[in-house]
């Protein structure tokens, strides 16, 4: 049969971010996929090598819009490793609260997008409505709905009081009720099951060989979670279960996320009720970056996120390497398209929770004279060209 090349993206109704896949199809069956990337690469690693390490905190938290707190957590941890700076216990608990709230809304958004991809527009809208409550909780805690900028070297920037604590706990009860309903929908609805069960299978060995991380790997039965294996902040004190599913298909990957939302709700409850007393931020902000090296691993909503930083003792880091989870999940996860049907491609891609902004990390292109240049943070902040 003739093999046809079908472009999928970079602008496509089922893709919310710019990436292109060249699908080679034989009839309806996909025989080969090649990714075409680079639409969103902003050179953040190079930008980090040119700015003060304090400013990089704000650059790194802008790598991704949805999971910005986890990026600032990873960057803060790597700087704290080099500075040998340990945050107070209260700050560690508050960081867990912020990160888990982020995980809840990140998982809710991908569940909602999956509903939309499958044709359930009302389910998408209901989930996005409920997700807004989580964004409000995040605003209460960090001061912002989306970009938190909550962390600082040696602690966090804001504390919670009793009033906020009670309101967050009350909203969590509401979210838990709603998620129980959505779990029922994803488990029992015949259309959702038909579109997801046995679609895009990845075996456990394939997941390990192809370096998949996070819910994508856990949906294939790989018992990996940075929070359990390599605990950071207060994760070694907060009880939670590692969720894995052995079905290895798109449905399993979505169910891992639903169950993780329940775990995250319990973790936020535990942290808020067991919040240690004491300071929440550093007394004095350390402004020196000694010579050294650090590697921090954290569990982002999409999987393991690594920051590797090398400092030569100057205030500007020598090298900052960012490896985001979508980088491996999207490029290496193409193995799941083997023998897939063309109509299933959007569902499989959505089941990886793609985050292209994360994957490709600012260059500015002046459209008047096609000039490409890389600005410093000061130039960006000043708004000058």
């Amino acid at each position: 049969m003739v093999v046809l090349e079908v472009p999928f993206g970079p602008q496509h109704p089922a893709l919310h971010e710019p990436i292109m896949f060249r699908l080679y199809v034989e009839g309806e069956q996909v025989v080969k996929v090649m990714p075409n990337i680079g639409y969103n690469h902003r050179g953040i690693e190079k930008l980090c090598e040119q700015n003060l390490f304090v400013k990089n905190l704000y650059i790194c938290s802008r790598v991704c819009g949805i999971c910005n707190i986890i990026h600032s957590t990873a960057y803060t941890l790597v700087v704290e490793q080099i500075q040998k700076n340990d945050p107070p216990p209260r700050a560690k608990y508050l960081r867990v609260v912020a990160n888990e709230l982020e995980r809840i809304h990140s998982h809710m958004i991908i569940l909602a997008i999956m509903a939309e991809v499958l044709g359930f527009d009302s389910l998408f809208m209901l989930m996005m409505r409920d997700r807004e409550q989580v964004m409000r909780m995040k605003e209460m805690l960090t001061g912002n709905r989306v970009l938190g900028d909550y962390l600082i070297f040696g602690g966090v920037k804001r504390d919670v009081d009793e009033e906020k604590k009670n309101r967050i706990l009350k909203t969590l009860d509401f979210i838990e009720e709603r998620m129980k309903y959505y779990k029922k929908v994803f488990t029992e609805d015949p259309t959702i099951r038909k579109r997801l069960v046995d679609v895009g299978p990845i075996t456990k060995t394939e997941a390990m060989k192809h370096c998949l991380v996070g819910p994508t790997a856990r949906g294939s039965g790989v018992k990996t979670d940075v929070r359990k294996e390599d605990p950071y902040d207060a994760y070694d004190e907060v009880p939670f279960n590692l969720i894995t599913y052995d079905e290895c298909d798109s449905w399993a990957r979505m169910m891992v996320r639903i169950d993780e939302v329940f775990e995250s709700i319990n973790m936020v409850r535990y942290c808020l009720t067991h919040l240690p007393d004491g300071p929440y931020g550093p007394k004095v902000l350390k402004r020196a970056l000694p010579k050294g090296e650090g590697i921090s691993r954290v569990e982002a909503p999409r999987g393991e996120l690594i920051y590797h930083m090398i400092s030569e003792g100057k205030r500007i880091p020598y090298r900052v390497k960012i490896r985001t989870p979508s980088m491996t999940n999207i490029i290496n996860g193409l193995v799941a398209f083997k023998n897939a049907v063309l109509a299933d491609v959007p569902a499989i891609i959505t089941s990886f929770d793609p985050c292209i902004a994360c994957m490709e990390r600012v260059e500015v292109i002046d459209i008047r004279n096609s000039k490409v240049w890389y600005p410093t943070l000061r130039q960006l902040a000043g708004g000058k060209r």
Partner: protein, 144 residues
């Protein structure tokens, strides 16, 4: 078996960066072999977390850094040094097909060639007019 015991068994000298982080410098000729041996000792219970390069123009080398996570144990950062004027290294995609994404990034942004595979292309992450320009090298300066 702890990571220290595994690395001693492999006959590798290591530095402990902190808990669950180990740095190992190996010769470029034996890196692939050592990763294979490491994989056999832990029954393939590991995965390649990332590959990155560190540019050291003053020493005329690239440091290639293979970060390997051994499930439940810790991270081994295997490093080797390659010549900066002729940056070629062997690919490990036959061992870990997942190395593709990482090798593609290093190939595209550092200009390091990986032998034994033909699936890496340029420019992948860069804009189209940046072919042959490697922005993460230290001698590539941002135009102000």
């Amino acid at each position: 078996m702890s990571i220290e015991e595994i690395l001693n068994k492999l006959g590798l000298e290591f530095q402990k960066m902190r808990d669950r982080r180990y740095v190992v410098y190996v010769d470029k000729g034996v890196l692939k072999e050592k990763i294979k041996e490491l994989s056999d000792i832990v029954n393939n219970e590991l995965y390649l977390s990332n590959i990155t390069a560190i540019d050291r123009p003053e020493d005329n080398i690239f440091e290639l850094c293979y970060n390997i996570w051994i499930y439940g144990k810790g991270l081994v950062s295997m490093r080797t040094k390659i010549d900066r004027s002729n940056p070629v290294f062997e690919s490990i995609q036959d061992m870990f097909p997942g190395a593709f994404a990482h090798e593609l990034e290093v190939h595209d942004l550092f200009g390091i060639k990986f032998e034994g595979v033909d699936n890496l292309w340029e420019p992948a992450f860069k804009p189209e007019d940046m072919k042959g320009v490697y922005p993460l090298r230290k001698d590539w300066k941002v135009k102000k």
